[in-house]
């Protein structure tokens, strides 16, 4: 297998907050280990995006999560909601501070948002080997 071949895992999760611990567990088990501080920051960002996706697509019953394992790990969370303007993100339904996207972007540099009327995908790059070692 070429070192550039992309290896990934795709999950369909119910649109329930009860799925959040499972999502974090799978990430911990499949992606490279992080320090406790790095892990808290990354998984906190993943949680923010997953909650937004769950809130946005409850009628679709599932959200999709893709874990890219190699060559450069990342987590992409996709919902089947009605999309939004990334410059004016909507407030969450979860009675949060409404700052989930702001927190995620501050915690994980390089977040990619792709939103359309048929849904939203957010990709969170995993810390690089150099970042993990630092």
């Amino acid at each position: 297998m070429s070192e550039h071949t992309q290896r990934s895992i795709s999950l369909a999760l119910r649109t329930s907050y009860d799925e959040l611990p499972l999502l974090r567990h799978v990430i911990r088990q499949t992606l490279p280990p992080l320090s406790q501080d790095q892990q808290s920051r990354y998984l906190g960002a993943v949680t923010e995006i997953a909650v937004n996706a769950i809130d946005a697509s409850k009628r679709a019953e599932t959200i999709r999560v893709t874990l890219v394992l190699a060559p450069r790990p990342s987590v992409t969370i996709s919902d089947f909601g009605s999309g939004f303007d990334p410059a004016h993100p909507p407030a969450s339904d979860s009675d949060s501070l409404g700052q989930g996207l702001t927190i995620a972007a501050a915690s994980v540099p390089g977040i990619i948002i792709d939103s359309s009327p048929s849904g939203t995908s957010v990709t969170l790059p995993y810390p690089s080997a150099e970042q993990i070692a630092s």
């Binding site: 611990p21 906190g44 009675d95 989930g100």
Partner: protein, 118 residues
């Protein structure tokens, strides 16, 4: 399946200064209802409450929102509620969200280390 150190739960400790709630594990949108219930059931009529986040491994904005509501509730009852947030990522989150203007946050936590679950 989820490691015990990541499972959300609250332990309660009393000392001369009041009641301390040590929050453990992943404090997220799915845990807020348990947090609210624990706070309401176990802190009634206690004039001084400390919420310690030392053992929290993940926290999200829903949980931060719960801390803001808990603070507002305590103030409405003329009680004191202090949040201990000793970890670097917690302090960064509080700064990003500006919560230090809404809740009483202490970074220098002196709570006991001996409550870390295995």
């Amino acid at each position: 399946m989820i490691a015990p150190r990541h499972q959300f739960h609250i332990t309660f400790h009393d000392d001369a200064d009041g009641r301390r709630l040590a929050i453990h594990g992943e404090f997220d949108a799915g845990a807020v209802a348990s947090f609210d219930a624990g706070l309401e059931d176990r802190t009634a009529n206690n004039p001084r409450i400390v919420l310690c986040l030392r053992h929290v491994t993940v926290i999200d904005s829903s949980a931060l929102g719960a801390l803001v509501r808990a603070t507002a509730q305590a103030r409405s009852e003329e009680h004191s509620l202090e949040v201990h947030a000793p970890l670097s990522y917690q302090q960064d989150l509080i700064e990003i969200t500006g919560l230090d203007s809404l809740i009483d946050v202490t970074k220098d936590c002196q709570c006991s280390e001996d409550e870390v679950p295995s």
